[in-house]
């Protein structure tokens, strides 16, 4: 294999590696943020119910709304990573 061919092969591998890194970073960083956020929401919910158990019914709706809004952050990361993976 000539030197030029080796460089080209390495560059090809580099593109693939970059795609994989983009996908992994998208999901990983998204999951990092959402993990903190979801933990916060459920923690606050537990505290709130412990203090005022009679509000549980009203709080549950807000809790799931907050959960879904936060959880969506993972998927924005995932979509960004998939876009990088597919389009580049």
């Amino acid at each position: 294999m000539t030197f030029a061919a080796m460089v080209f092969a390495a560059a090809e591998d580099g593109v693939d590696a970059g795609k994989a890194v983009a996908l992994a970073l998208g999901i990983g960083l998204g999951a990092l943020g959402a993990g903190v956020g979801i933990g916060n929401i459920f923690g606050s919910m537990i505290q709130a119910v412990a203090r005022q158990p009679e509000l549980r019914g009203e709080l549950t709706g807000i809790q799931w709304l907050g959960f879904a809004l936060t959880e969506a952050v993972v998927f924005y990361g995932l979509i960004g990573g998939l876009l990088a993976f597919v389009l580049v």
Partner: protein
């Protein structure tokens, strides 16, 4: 007895998974690629000029889901209602109550509940049904297998909501209704003025573009949330099962199939319901906040 039954069913499903793996190892046709599951082929081509209205897998699922939604509503909430409700009627009333107290009354102002409750409630049930039939193996797929000489479509799981165009259409409906209702109740000038928050005048060039951008981000977040949730759920299950084929090792099924099961249960028990609820609740909140701006 129930436990024994569950164990037998689990074993049968696991064994069938390994059986598939062995056949693929024998006659290998093409490389496994999870994204092939989301390719939409025209089953019945309908082209109107540049617009492609063909019946594809997603359209077939949508038609099935809308029929099921209507049937469900009729069966649970219209058919043979009495003063002494049985299980069926109780379930119907439970769904109705969730749609009313948890979705409509959370977001919509009292004066417009009568007008927008039907939209929000049918959105809740429709998205729920589309999501749920996406997890039931149905003979609606592009791949065929041969059984006693007859070509049958393989059983596959696919949710129409894991296609961006479907969720984007639903989000666009909400987007249009939001602004139409806002203008109808507050007038054009009054409605657009309500977008601008209470900030000092010099801040306007910074805040106003952000607020306008925010209105369009709602469209993206509403559609991408549902789409990506369903896509990721299906892809997780597919990837775990696919590990058996990619690494070509039957014994991986011992690990991969239970994991796929766990994600499957998580999806049908939690994600499906929550996503439908969120979609309907956010729609109600958006429409409600357009009808009655905060200031």
């Amino acid at each position: 007895m129930k436990r024994a039954l569950a164990a037998v069913i689990g074993l049968a499903l696991t064994l069938s998974g390994t059986a598939f793996a062995s056949t693929v190892e024998g006659g290998k046709e093409e490389d496994f690629d999870p994204s092939h599951e989301w390719l939409l082929h025209d089953w019945i081509p309908i082209h109107l000029g540049p617009i492609n209205l063909s019946i594809t897998k997603a359209v077939a699922y949508l038609i099935l889901a809308s029929l099921l939604t209507m049937l469900l509503g009729w069966f649970l909430m219209r058919w043979r209602l009495g003063t002494d409700p049985g299980n069926r009627q109780t379930a119907g009333e439970w769904i109705y109550e969730i749609a009313q107290t948890q979705v409509a009354e959370q977001g919509l102002p009292t004066k417009s509940i009568a007008r927008w409750f039907p939209y929000v409630a049918s959105l809740l049930i429709f998205v729920f049904v589309v999501n749920l039939i996406g997890f039931i193996p149905l003979p609606l797929s592009d791949e065929k297998f041969e059984l006693f000489g007859v070509e049958l479509p393989t059983l596959g799981i696919y949710a129409a909501t894991s296609t961006l165009s479907v969720t984007l259409t639903l989000a666009l409906l909400t987007f249009v209704f939001t602004h139409v209702e806002g203008i109808r109740h507050n007038g054009v000038a009054g409605y657009f003025k309500s977008w601008i928050p209470d900030v000092p005048k010099p801040m306007y060039p910074l805040i106003v573009p952000l607020e306008i951008l925010g209105q369009f981000m709602r469209l993206i977040s509403l559609s991408v949330r549902l789409y990506a949730n369903m896509l990721a759920g299906h892809m997780l299950i597919l990837t775990f099962i696919g590990l058996i084929f990619v690494l070509e090792n039957v014994f991986l099924a011992v690990v991969a199939v239970p994991f796929a099961w766990a994600f499957y249960l998580f999806e049908i028990l939690i994600v499906v319901g929550i996503q439908a609820y969120i979609f309907a609740a956010l729609t109600a909140i958006y429409i409600g906040s357009a009808i009655e701006p905060e200031h």
